[in-house]
Symmetry: D3
Subunit: 243 residues, 6 copies
């Protein structure tokens, strides 16, 4: 099976972190290819950046399907552009927030998402709500910029551990790491804290593999039906839905 | 007060419809200027088109604030890009779905939204849920393309009336028109059916005026804080949040 | 446009506070007339007082409509008698809790209502729930009697500020003042705290103006249909619904 | 144990119906006294009538407590004035909608409330929601005036049976009769339809008896704390909360 | 009326505690018989023990009905096996969590359940949610094993009081005791704390008496229809539903 | 990876159906072993049968862990005993309802579960609610006994197809088959109806494989902590939690 892991921000080192984690869990017969957005923000921190990351996501999803990939993963915990991409392609499109919640939910009742910036708490809480887990999930923020995760000199790791400790004291039974840039931390944190610590990139790889083995793809009836062919103009003309 | 009414699709006739309706309700001391997106889809029909309408929305919101407009209205019933735009500017940003629901909710308990395409039912139902009115609002679709509203030869009007009749029979007490292109129909339909029929464009003008008189603007604390300055690259580089 | 601002308690100084605030935001072509209840409690603090404030509300609403007013505002944050009044008249009837939430919701995601007495927390939380904003609004109480707001020697103002500070620390992005008697505080508190601070009386004036310009009135189909004509007896006989 | 069964409308024949049903279920050591409102509407049909029934409810509750009654039942399915009365007295105050739902919920998962007028569907649905049973209860209306129940020549009974049949076909497993005036129909309808048919008046008698045996009364901490002593003026001056 | 009070764990002293409390509230014409499970766990602490307590519950319910008892109470706050038992018998089956919530809900808006072990917080919170009271109930745990309640030398009582104090400080208006073994504490704690303190065993006796007087039994339509006759094999063969 | 697929009813032919489906999707390096309950009901149809299927589930889960299996699947759409089993073992325990919903949710917004007996609609609707998907999932029943699925002469298949057609007409975008005995139908039905048709047995195999590759197991903190060691007596003594 061939999976495209797409980093919707333009920071290649974060793509590398994700790919390395993905390869650590992929099945022997799975090929994971990682790509970095060639346009858009260097990091996605809130609704604004997210809006400008979507065109690259769509473009990459369409290309992935055309090249024969069988699943497409958006490696940003905001699940940026996932619903739009599902209208564009038939192969499964997975967000890493969704995948992390799916794979954690059979393991624990009360789950803490630990993310980076405080301003993401509301959008991620809305995302959790969309996935139906409001009653079981609380979102915590370590109050660090996303790119601090790429900087070994930052105190990002210590701050994340402090939030996990706080969440466990408040009753959390498992941890979900709320940023693609944390993919390399999951195993160590699980060892430190003794509860399941789930990263979305690796979770998404396994969900993609599962859908591949089940031979199930995106429904083309209703919400995710192909966009109606029509002209787009100006800067974004090339994104017009194909006829 | 100066309000910018922005049509996020590229169909100028729809902008005209909206502007005419807006001028019909604006206060004597309000100036409404309407603009049409210069890039993106000719009509917005579902998650896919929506994604490509957002950049034009942000650009227009930033320009409006820079030019001294005091409120910005996104004239598409998907409330396309509204949350992202709120992170970009301090002037109030209003979606027409949100505004229509706000102004209808004191008038009736059970509200029917009547929109165009069936595939919009799920996204609009999610939008209604986000605005907290799930228990009171049902979404109906007339099953017509958005641009049929611009075509006098289509049976759009008859189909919309049929859906309204169905909604009233099921207990609806007021109607919200679920597409900017229906702005000119509200008065006639209200007369025909004898219940409040609310259009979002005109509703948004009055909410904008209200916020102007109250001198209240978007909170810059938390979710709608300004996007963190950072580089964007490629096609969308010019949208990078200002420092 | 002519709006009747009705204070459902019998304390005239509170009516004055509300009227002054209302006039500060009303459009040039709006006339606001304020009236004080001639029967009922001097202040409304909980379910009990509320029950005895309703007859005056209905009487005033009916009179307002008969005199040609085009909107009716109930200036008590419990939205006392609002639903009953909507069954009595066709002009829009607005509660100030509802109006404040409507006008604040486009400005911020997480909202704190700061009210007076602790015992109002449950009724106001239920009211917020009725308006669909449970997930976004938290109610705080300054633990002061309503009439302390009319007493310059009280520490009401300091206690309100303390609650606002607490709410902001807990993540609130905007403040709604939860008592008609606070209408004069909004501008100063907004300046102090740097977030939108919304008062319900002024918010209701702008919603009333908006509905006036939209020419939309209460639906008379279903829930708010006119009360069925029938005899009332005893003390309240004069309130029988007209035939 | 002594229970006061209060009919908040002024129609004495309905009081008689309720009392007869109450006596049919009361324990041997229970005394049930029934009283009819001496002021207010002849029947309660929607928010408007309800507002004017509340003062009589409060007056009767206070008198009941003063006379040594140990529980107070409001025999109207809108649970008119129940929350305000709880702020006035310490003895348990029961609404018949609440009591019927409480006693039916252990007997069946899906419950249909069958009421009189269509306009009551929204208020009763809100009441069901307040009691936490939204997911399990659907409200049906036989579309008859309340007083038709008192008129043997009306087709009220046939219409109620038709609604019950419709509810059962849609999956209801038990029926709650949604009007005090239906108290005498429960046994017969239960026999006819072979599912539990619960009337609120009799249900409330048993809940009152239960609270009596448990020696549990209304909490005076928080929401139902006694109303703060203060002057009331005008027509309603005599209702001012005692000091 | 004859009620069977069944303790689904095998600790007879806990049965005695429950029976004594039950007799303290039962009507003069009620006979309460208590039985202890003859198979299964000595105490029920979480999902695991609960699973093995169910067969004894069903067996006891079937026997109770065969012997002419008119109601069956499961005296464990997890409401162990209550839904399965309802499919087996026609007499009312009551859980003590459900009964306690039913009888407390008319007395107070905000309710605290105080239970024993911390691991029960999630299952009891789910149970509260099933009964529709999520918005009004918070679950606290004294962090003691169930059987500590039977040991006079333990500090169970002090820990329970500490949790009640914490709950009241957080706004609780009434207390529900979250374990059958606490049935003897309710009166004393009510006296100490001055708010309603409700025990489920006694609450269930009064609900059972109420349903008896109402002559209402479990609905046999839909969810609680008798189990379809079929063979069971092995250890549990004798539990096969009768034909 | 070694997975134990456990059929909690005693009908071996249903185990065979499940195993065959499971092997059709398992990865090359996965070993699936299927076992049939040696005690309990021949089919699980509602709360009653479910209760008596749980002991066999727990026994099988404990044995599976002891024998080195790395995941345990309960192949009944009621997710019988899944939560209790999670308290007994550390390896992941998956219900097929949960797994089917997890794997379908990224593929479609509106999902229909099509099950066998009408009486299962309420329990399955509660299960869907527990998994957070109430707003997106509707449960349909073909009104056939479970074992009709094993009988080629029955009209089970035609009835299931009729329910699917009804669900699609009502807006469903994907189908989940609501019984382990339908595992062999999924591929054919997907072909017939052109939307994703997901079976829980195969879905659970892929979720188990995913958790295996992620090396994530059940949290032992909080709700799923090991049952406290204690004696069990009588018929079920051997199930006492180990010390």
């Amino acid at each position: 099976m061939r999976i495209l892991l797409f980093n919707p921000n333009t920071t290649a080192s974060m793509t590398e972190t994700g790919l390395k984690a993905a390869l650590g869990v992929a099945a022997p017969d799975t090929e994971v290819v990682a790509r970095t957005a060639a346009m858009g923000p260097v990091s996605i921190e809130g609704y604004y950046d997210e809006a400008f990351a979507v065109p690259a996501v769509i473009e990459a999803a369409a290309a992935a399907e055309a090249e024969g990939f069988e699943a497409f993963i958006v490696a940003c915990f905001d699940d940026t552009g996932v619903e739009a991409a599902r209208c564009r392609v038939g192969i499964p499109v997975l967000g890493i927030c969704e995948a992390a919640l799916l794979m954690t939910s059979p393991l624990a009742k009360r789950i803490a998402v630990v993310t980076t910036m405080a301003r993401a708490i509301v959008p991620l809480t809305e995302l959790v709500h969309r996935y139906g887990l409001s009653g079981r999930v609380t979102v915590y923020a370590a109050d660090i910029p996303v790119l601090a995760l790429e900087d070994p000199a930052s105190d990002a790791s210590a701050r994340i551990e402090a939030e996990i400790a706080k969440a466990l004291a408040a009753g959390a039974e498992a941890i979900v790491l709320g940023c693609a840039g944390m993919a390399d931390l999951a195993d160590r944190l699980q060892q430190t804290f003794g509860v399941p610590v789930v990263d979305g990139v690796t979770a998404a790889v396994t969900v993609a593999e599962g859908l591949g083995r089940l031979r199930r793809r995106t429904s083309k009836r209703g919400t995710y039906a192909p966009a109606v062919p029509k002209p787009y103009i100006g800067l974004l003309a090339s994104f017009a839905p194909p006829g």
